[in-house]
């Protein structure tokens, strides 16, 4: 068993329970022990890049430090949480002024300056388990299913902080799909933004963006779109006007690993 400190984030506890449940069930099957800190706080959903913002970055630092104290790497599932935590960790390691301000504010027993290693769940599958080993554990391969991976923006960019994959030609989700027996569909809009939070400024912006993405996946023959992000899921389901099923990557993983009744709690 390998231990990770697990950060679910606000939405996995509410509207994206199946994203969370499947992540936990699959981790157990794969021999990964997820330890959820008792006192985690919402990451805020978006990283504030401004150098004169400190308070908005503290919840991410708290959970990073909590993993450091537990001696674990930190693992995330939601793309937005992952982005906020990775950018915070990058800046605190590279910007001495920010690091100093954060630590003076938090008053930890030992300063936090970027020591924790952060994995997205997909990176854990690739780098800790290995896609070849994952493929060996698959009980119900998604044979013949053409799956369009939707990266969106937050998993890949900015590259220097996220460092997960090539943001212009990513392969981690395609290789994940191959490992669970499906056929990946490569399409032009896989790494472009879904319209995100602009639903609160002008819903049409999200409608246009998400329709473009779904249309691009449909043109390339996708039977299904998968995502790691609850807001991408919402925009693709509610605002794209497209009827291709959209699912969380942990749901298809759970199905492939033979977990019963996936998707019923959504």
């Amino acid at each position: 068993m390998k231990n990770f400190t697990y950060y679910p984030g606000c939405t996995l506890r509410t509207k994206a329970k199946e994203l969370d449940r499947c992540a936990r069930v699959c981790a157990e099957i794969l021999g990964i022990n997820l330890e959820e800190p008792a006192d985690w706080q919402c990451c805020g959903g978006a990283y504030t890049t401004a150098k004169d913002e400190i308070a908005t970055k503290l919840s991410a630092v708290r959970v990073l430090n909590s993993a450091k104290e537990a001696g674990n790497p930190l693992i995330t599932v939601c793309s937005a949480c992952h982005n906020v935590i990775k950018q915070t960790n990058y800046d605190i390691s590279h910007d001495d002024e920010m690091c100093g301000k954060v630590n003076r504010y938090l008053g930890l027993s030992e300063n936090y300056s970027g020591e924790t290693i952060v994995y997205h769940y997909l990176e854990m599958l690739r780098d800790v388990i290995g896609f070849e080993n994952l493929a060996k554990q698959v009980k119900k391969p998604l044979k013949g299913v053409k799956i369009a991976p939707y990266y969106g923006c937050l998993l890949l960019r900015p590259k220097k902080a996220l460092a997960m994959d090539d943001p212009e030609n990513p392969s981690i989700m395609e290789n994940f799909i191959k490992a669970i027996g499906g056929t990946p569909v490569v399409y032009a809009q896989r790494n472009e933004c879904c319209g995100a939070y602009t639903i609160f400024e002008d819903k049409n912006q999200a409608v246009e963006r998400s329709a473009k993405i779904a249309e691009s996946a449909r043109e390339m023959g996708a039977d299904m779109i998968i995502t790691a992000c609850p807001l991408c899921m919402y925009n693709l389901k509610k605002n794209s006007g497209c009827d291709i099923p959209v699912r969380y990557f942990t749901e298809v993983l759970a199905e492939a690993l033979g977990v019963e009744e996936v998707g019923n709690e959504q």
């Binding site: 984030g9 959903g45 960019r157 609160f200 963006r209 609850p230």
Partner: protein
């Protein structure tokens, strides 16, 4: 440039960490921006207008609420200018002003539906108010 504009420019440069002088005006940021069609001022114009000290025009433009912070311009700029960070700094200056909040909590209940993820609400509040 008058001293007020000089001061606003200084604040944006300091908060964003962006060096506008690195821009070579290739327009790639705007060419790749998924919000281009929704913006009055486009990413390359933000960079140029900040250089000129035209900050108030940007602060008063709805363009600052249209940026998706998707970092496409940040990663695709051949000069590492990071325009999205400049947009963010201008937006923060606008929402930090007295009564500058773009989104008020009391507006939110009418905008919700049963599938709206919490992530959307917290992100919008972070972007559109202080």
């Amino acid at each position: 440039m008058n001293s007020k504009n000089e001061n606003l420019k200084e604040q944006v440069l300091r908060a964003s960490g962006v060096n506008v002088l690195k821009c070579m005006r290739c327009g790639k940021c705007s060419g790749t921006c998924p919000a281009y069609g929704e913006m009055e001022y486009h990413p390359h114009q933000f960079v140029y207008m900040i250089e000129k000290g035209d900050i108030e025009k940007l602060m008063n433009s709805p363009s600052i609420y249209r940026c998706l912070t998707c970092f496409a311009c940040v990663d695709r700029c051949p000069r590492g200018v990071e325009p999205a960070k400049a947009v963010e700094a201008v937006r923060l200056m606008a929402v930090r002003k007295q009564d500058g909040n773009r989104l008020k909590p009391e507006q939110i209940p009418d905008m919700l539906d049963e599938d709206m993820p919490q992530q959307a609400i917290v992100t919008a509040l972070r972007k559109y108010r202080k």
